[in-house]
């Protein structure tokens, strides 16, 4: 009982920092290299928070996440100001405050400063340990530089996540094996492994189309996937979500997403979920600044989810977790809407989907997650 009542005054906060030193060729995140917009952007970000005063006031923040783009690419004063602004409305008794870094920005001073203002978890994007592939991707650091940055982070933070990707341009299975060796050696508490997804708007897409870049075949990519799953486990990591492994504890903030809890995101492209409402901000920085300046909420998508939609989304996100969702709890919460949503994926029960007592993807099923989740979309 205690649990649910205080849940309602709890909220997770996400802040999007859309600046990067250089644009990666596969990037489809809201990010820009126009640092001259920084001042304007953060001013308006503060204003955006004001626009939601009503929703925020009096809530307790348990998790806070600065993502990007590259949060480490902006002067720390902006971050401080955002935290102060949040503190105007919210109780910041934060258990987990994550900050995303790119290797090229990691400096002692910045890291210490962040630690002092309450950041207690770092996430750093390595993506691959192959310098050649980093070059192809347009990422401005070498593996050696990453290693230095990583150790700087470790001086201040115990809880460090390393982001990696596989199925990258020109990547071979050996490259992935090398990445896994690196993990073994650095021993970060948390690791995310993503398969590279290629969206039509990004430069990489046309490079592949016109044959400049070769991607691993489906077969090779599958071998990579199998290697990662197997090796991470043997190194003692627990895979608690499709792309997330931990030796310590799951990322509390991301867990809120996957459990379809309530959160609010501020800044470019940020999404929020509150009281069955979902909204998403614009991904255009100019659009964002202009709207907020006028006192408008900068959303491009708003939806009042029906119970059925809510049930589908809860399943959609929850099935990403190794523990899946609690069938009984879902039944209680959504009733027949749960049954309706569940009926869409019932056909996978068995090899792909474990259907009781909890509803969750099997180890094999994780490999075909999109096939199952597609049915809920």
């Amino acid at each position: 009982m205690l649990c649910t009542s205080h849940l309602k005054d709890e909220i997770s906060i996400y802040i999007h920092v859309p600046f990067c030193s250089r644009k990666c060729i596969y990037c489809d995140f809201a990010s820009t290299t126009h640092t001259e917009l920084m001042k304007d952007y953060f001013e308006n970000l503060e204003k955006e928070i004001d626009l939601y005063a009503g929703e925020l006031r009096g809530k307790h923040v348990k998790t806070l996440y600065f993502g990007g783009g590259t949060p480490s690419h902006v002067p720390i004063k902006y971050i401080e100001r955002i935290i102060e602004k949040l503190a105007n409305y919210l109780f910041l008794n934060v258990e987990e405050a994550t900050f995303e870094f790119n290797p090229e920005d990691v400096k002692h001073e910045l890291v210490k400063g962040l630690f002092e203002i309450g950041i207690n978890r770092a996430s750093i994007g390595l993506q691959t340990s192959s310098d050649d592939i980093l070059g192809v991707l347009g990422r401005p650091y070498t593996f050696d530089e990453f290693r230095k940055s990583y150790s700087i982070l470790r001086e201040s933070f115990e809880n460090v996540n390393v982001d990696l990707m596989y199925s990258l341009p020109f990547e071979k299975v050996e490259d992935v094996e090398q990445d896994l060796k690196v993990i073994e050696e650095l021993n970060p508490s948390h690791v995310s492994f993503y398969e590279l997804e290629i969206h039509e708007e990004v430069p990489l897409y046309s490079m592949i189309k016109n044959g400049q870049v070769r991607l691993p075949s489906e077969d090779e990519s599958e071998v990579m996937y199998d290697k990662i799953v197997e090796k991470m486990e043997s190194m003692g990591y627990e895979r608690y979500e499709i792309s997330s492994w931990t030796k310590d504890k799951p990322c509390q903030h991301n867990l809120k997403y996957w459990e379809n809890e309530e959160y609010m995101g501020f800044g470019l492209s940020a999404g929020s979920h509150l009281l069955h409402k979902r909204w998403v901000n614009t991904t255009e920085i100019n659009d964002y600044i202009l709207k907020v300046r006028k006192g408008e909420r900068p959303t491009v998508y708003e939806s009042n989810n029906s119970d059925f939609e809510e049930a589908c989304e809860t399943l959609f996100m929850g099935l990403r977790l190794s523990d899946g969702v609690d069938t009984e709890k879902m039944k209680k919460e959504f009733g027949e809407n749960f049954e309706k949503a569940f009926s869409r994926i019932k056909k996978f029960c068995g090899e792909i989907l474990e259907c009781s007592p909890r509803l969750r993807l099997t180890k094999l099923g994780m490999k075909f997650s999109a096939m199952v989740l597609r049915e809920l979309a």
């Binding site: 489906e218 499709i242 940020a270 999404g271 490999k367 075909f368 597609r374 979309a377």
Partner: protein
Amino acid sequence: MFDNSLIRNISIIAHIDHGKSTLADRILELTNSVEARKMHAQYLDTMEIEQERGITIKAQPVKILYNAKDGKAYEINIIDTPGHVDFSYEVSRSLAACEGAILLVDATQGVEAQTVANAYLAIENNLEIVPVINKIDMPNANVEETQRELYDTLGIRPEETLLVSAKTGEGVPELMEEVVKRIPAPSGSPEDKLRALIFDANYDPYKGVVAHVRIFEGKLSTKDVIEMMSTKATHEVVEVGIFSPYMTPTNILSAGEVGYVAASMREAREARVGDTITLAVNPAKEPLPGYKEAKPVVYAGLYPTDPKDYEELRKGLERFKLNDAAFVFEPDNSSALGFGFRCGFLGLLHMEIVVERLEREYNLDVIATAPNVVYEVEMNNGETVRITDPAKMPKEGTYLRIREPYVDLSIMTPVDTMGAVMNFIQNEKRGEFVSTENAGKNRVTLNFKMPMSEMIFDFFDKIKAISHGYASMDYDFAEYRESKLVKIGILVNKEPVEALSTVVHESKAYKVAKALVESIAEKMPRQQFEIPIQATARGRIIARATVKAYRKDVLAKCYGGDVTRKMKLLKKQKEGKKRMRMLGNVSISKDVFLSILSIGKEDKN
């Protein structure tokens, strides 16, 4: 009455890029043909796409007046020729309408195979040739070598050649003088029985099919009743006229003149290129020589991507046919593709042009199946059938023999690539070497006979690659020859998919079958179960590949802000899957379906 001796009917023979348009423009400028220049510029605009791709569709003929140094004004008709090898018959008819031709060669690129072939066509038609070397202003012009190539390939002596720069205009006035001097005036008499050659036709929404004609003998006026000598069909003339440069009605066209005839004809085949027009009341005895019925040599299926566009496609094809007598089509259907049409073309490029124009001008999205040649099958009962669709190849044992079309192929290539070209044509393409000739200092012309089907896949690009881009080629249908051919059928998950069957030479059956099943398997998305892809020939399975079960399908990343986007993306994918196509009993997405159907289709871009 116009004086015959002041008429000159000419064509310009040139390879793409050798400056034909620039020269034409310069001539129009020199003769003060303002309207004609405007039209030419427009024509160039509309044909931009064709030109980008190195195809030139024909321009309308144009009549200009040239004041020569002898004080007389000459009427010069310039008749354009289509620029691609698939249209060699049309080229020959355009040339037949002329007494002479300017043979234009680029001094920086030298003589090309197609130019030689067209020059031969001109010589066969008794045309007087005025050889012209263009682009002499360019720093890399090599006049001497070009002259040598002209001598080697066509026996043209260096002193006969004129040197011009169409760009700067240098040498163009001299050229015009030579045209008037060297090219004879037309000779026929207006008093003889009418014989007019149709060298082109176009469709005009008001006038119907308009035949472009050259009058050889006799005269032709409005209200005359004409007879098409190949079909004996008669029509009453509604309008005759000249191209000056737009279609301008006149009362009469006389021997020697070039103009047009409109006679309420509704279909392109009523005015066939090469046919002779005579008068119904007083017909000529013999038609002009050289008429051939344009027979399609390459067939392919055209299907609407969206089945509901079937009617639209049919309308498009019909309208298309109005302008193009060589194009044929008939309704067809396939279990994989639904309802569509089996279409015949003069060649691969003709096919590409048709598909592209259907898409561009009629806004249709079409699926073209891999093209095939027309086979002749002699059945057990002695009957000969033409097979235009490999899927319809008769069963083993029901026929005596199959014949396939061969082409005369000539390839001009640098001497140092000769061995590689020979090897490729003879060992990989079943070609037979016929002869070789010099074609300039370091170049040879290689002549082959080769099955036409070998040109369909993996040919043009390979030749270009082998010759480092230098080879140029020309080909023409030669004959049908008996051949040991087999049909390869494809089974997807044990179900035959006729749309994927193909006919190949026995010696290549295994290789082709293996390549086919492997590329299909590679393109097939993995399903929930294993799928065998098999190739059969003569009732046996000769190759097999397997599509593995399951395809890794990881939804990689998904956080808060992403939920909506990810769900939308997946929803789109899901909807895409609903519009699945069936291949055998396996459903696959449209994209995959299209890419499987186009396996082996060569991209000539």
